[in-house]
Symmetry: C2
Subunit: 218 residues, 2 copies
């Protein structure tokens, strides 16, 4: 079960390794659409979502300020593209984490750990995905579809555990929302650096332990 979507590691491209601008002779950029996403992610990682500026992204790519509008309707569309890429990799990550130990309780726990690890590893994507910057862009149907696929991975795991008699028989969607809330809470605290030095992995494992004892059938 190979991963379908991987996000290229952000720190791979140092400012030195990357060509600051395209060769002046070249007219068309190789794959500007992709480059814009990557540069946006890089900027968000360094400066936060607030610090993301279309002008600086263009300059760092050695491209005119308006070149972006050939590929994205506006700034929100670029953020939506980042979120879509994030949800795609996120859904894959969750599904793989669940499947790797053969599903079941071990898979459920692995999925929870993978959730927080994804947020910590790709904070820029996670913030755009869940930070509420997409209000107006939520209509992008592909984005919604990817988000729902991620959520479906969680719900599916829950239904499986219920069938095995390991979880209480509450509405799976309700259980999934609760698990989601716990995971999201831990992820946000970790990303915002509010765990005061505590290890996010260990923090999430603790949350899972407390969570499971609560939702499993007694």
């Amino acid at each position: 079960m190979a991963s379908r979507a991987r996000i290229s590691p952000p720190s791979t491209r140092s400012a030195k390794a990357r060509p600051a601008r395209r060769a002046p002779g070249r007219y068309h950029h190789g794959d500007l659409r992709r480059a814009l996403i990557e540069e946006a992610v890089l900027t968000i990682q360094q400066q936060g979502v607030e610090g993301l500026t279309l002008r600086s992204v263009a300059e760092r790519l050695g491209v005119s300020r308006t070149a972006l509008y050939r590929h994205y309707r506006d700034k929100g569309a670029l953020l939506a593209a980042v979120a879509r890429e994030g949800f795609r990799a996120f859904g894959d990550t969750l599904a793989e984490a669940f499947a790797a130990p053969g599903g079941g309780p071990a898979g459920f726990q692995a999925m929870g750990r993978a959730y927080v690890r994804f947020a910590v590893t790709h904070p820029a994507h996670y913030r755009v995905m869940f930070g509420g910057f997409l209000d107006a862009c939520n209509r992008d149907p592909e984005l919604v579809a990817e988000a729902e696929r991620s959520f479906a991975a969680l719900t599916g795991a829950i239904v499986g555990l219920q069938r095995a008699g390991l979880l209480c028989p509450d509405d799976p969607a309700r259980l999934a929302r609760h698990v989601w809330a716990v995971s999201h809470g831990v992820a946000m605290l970790a990303i915002d650096g509010q765990l005061r030095g505590a290890d996010p992995d260990e923090e999430m494992q603790y949350a899972i332990d407390r969570l499971l004892t609560g939702i499993r059938k007694m």
Copy 2:
């Protein structure tokens, strides 16, 4: 136990009831410092934190664009003031909710419900408090003190339940972080409108039930 800090209801002041600009003859604004906070909260409620503009706040108050700098160093300082006011009311709300039923398990549950209700009732404050807009302003010692007081209310309730033998004997700070993560998760989903029509109060009550079964001594 009367409340020490109350946030004036935002919808009280309609655009019509409020004087759009101060009387042109009057030179000094009555209490610009306070008015700036209230207008900022109002704007955030209507347009989101992203939509908060010092220029629009000044215009809505009938004041020059630079008048703000007599009271706050910059935009971040104004947001910090909003957050400080929020944390103050938040800490009071949590403490009162805990005390009202006489503390104990009922107080703990009431505190959890009050947490989410505060977020839903004062989303503008909550977003500024926990939305990560305060990175550079976290040095404001009064803000930090108010935030710690809020967290202490939670930790105190946990320690009380532990002494009564109702909670597992884990490190109170660790337990508090977990409870915080769950509450924060539910609050964020509620604020972001991602509960898909589910009632936030009921959602939080469900989370508390699942949470308690997990963390109480068996």
